[in-house]
Amino acid sequence: MGVAVGILLVAALFLFYRFDPETQPLFPRCPFFLITGYQCPGCGSQRALHSLLHADIGTAFKQNAFMVLAIPYVFLGIYLQYLGGKLRHPRLENIFYGRWSAIILLVVIFAYWILRNLL
């Protein structure tokens, strides 16, 4: 199971590296953007991932700043939950994956959603 998901992830990363979601028609599109014309918090994250895989952090930041910042956070979560980080660093978990951090995260997502459409 874990191996299958791992292979799938590597395949997906390869596709995101090899092909630019900006120009290739087949990457999934945001249903929210198609319907409303407004960007959702995730819009641009595929382009940002493509830029990141090509080590172009500046462009990635313009395409979706939230996702660029979220990626190290996601890795921290995977380390804490699945690679034994919880036991070694219980304080890290309390700070970054506690109750309040979850609430702050939701506020950040909604704030980013509103601001990116206003600015």
């Binding site: 998901v5 799938l8 992830l9 395949a11 997906a12 596709l15 092909f19 290739q24 087949l26 990457f27 999934p28 599109r29 945001c30 249903p31 929210f32 959702c40 918090p41 995730g42 819009c43 994250s45 595929q46 991932l49 939230f66 996702m67 979220a70 956070y73 996601v74 979560g77 995977i78 804490l80 939950q81 978990e93 994956y97 506690g98 109750r99 979850a102 609430i103 995260l105 939701l106 997502i109």
Partner: protein
């Protein structure tokens, strides 16, 4: 049906499991278990509902626990009325909220947010001493998180397959052109 926690060989708390699920967990007679309504942790073979685990079929484990080093170890946490906190699912529910954005699955993120809300309740209820509500929130958080996770994995699979098929298709068209021109 009661749901049980137990303390494994490394002293880590695991749970919750129904008595049926505990059959898979290789409990020994002296494994400490706890469920709602119990004053403190008990040996598994002292809990009536779990007696069946140690009937004829599981003789293999009986020899191992004939001479337990310390048949009544203290629970690894202090206090007689200790109740273990159910799994919160916070990390997982946060991950399934963020990650679907990467594949335009923002509807999935809504499921993840439901998971986060329940996951955050687990600790609040637990701190207030409402253990039943805490366990209930933990179960709901786990349910929504798992639903979101499986749909996300399916969606990732679909995307990868679709993109690969598309390029195979384009490749075959190029071959077609060659057929016509020659």
């Amino acid at each position: 049906m009661n749901r049980y926690f137990y303390i494994d060989a490394e002293g880590k708390q695991k749970g919750t499991f129904s008595p049926q699920e505990l059959q898979q967990e290789r409990l020994k007679r002296d494994t400490l278990v706890w469920t709602q309504g119990m004053e403190q942790w008990k040996r598994a073979d002292e809990v009536e509902e779990l007696q069946f685990l140690f009937s004829v079929s599981s003789t293999a484990y009986q020899t191992a626990s004939e001479n337990p080093v310390n048949p009544y170890p203290q629970p690894p946490y202090a206090g007689d009325n200790y109740r273990p906190m159910p799994r919160t699912w916070l990390v997982e529910s946060i991950l399934v909220t963020i990650l679907p954005f990467l594949l335009c699955g923002n509807l999935l993120s809504l499921l993840g947010i439901i998971g986060i809300v329940y996951a955050a309740q687990v600790e609040s209820f637990y701190n207030r001493g409402d253990f039943a509500a805490s366990a209930e929130s933990s179960r709901s958080a786990g349910k929504w998180t798992k639903i979101a996770m499986w749909i996300a994995i399916g969606w990732l699979l679909l995307t990868v397959v679709a993109v690969i098929l598309f390029f195979v298709f384009v490749g075959s068209l190029a071959g077609l052109e060659e057929l016509i021109t020659t």
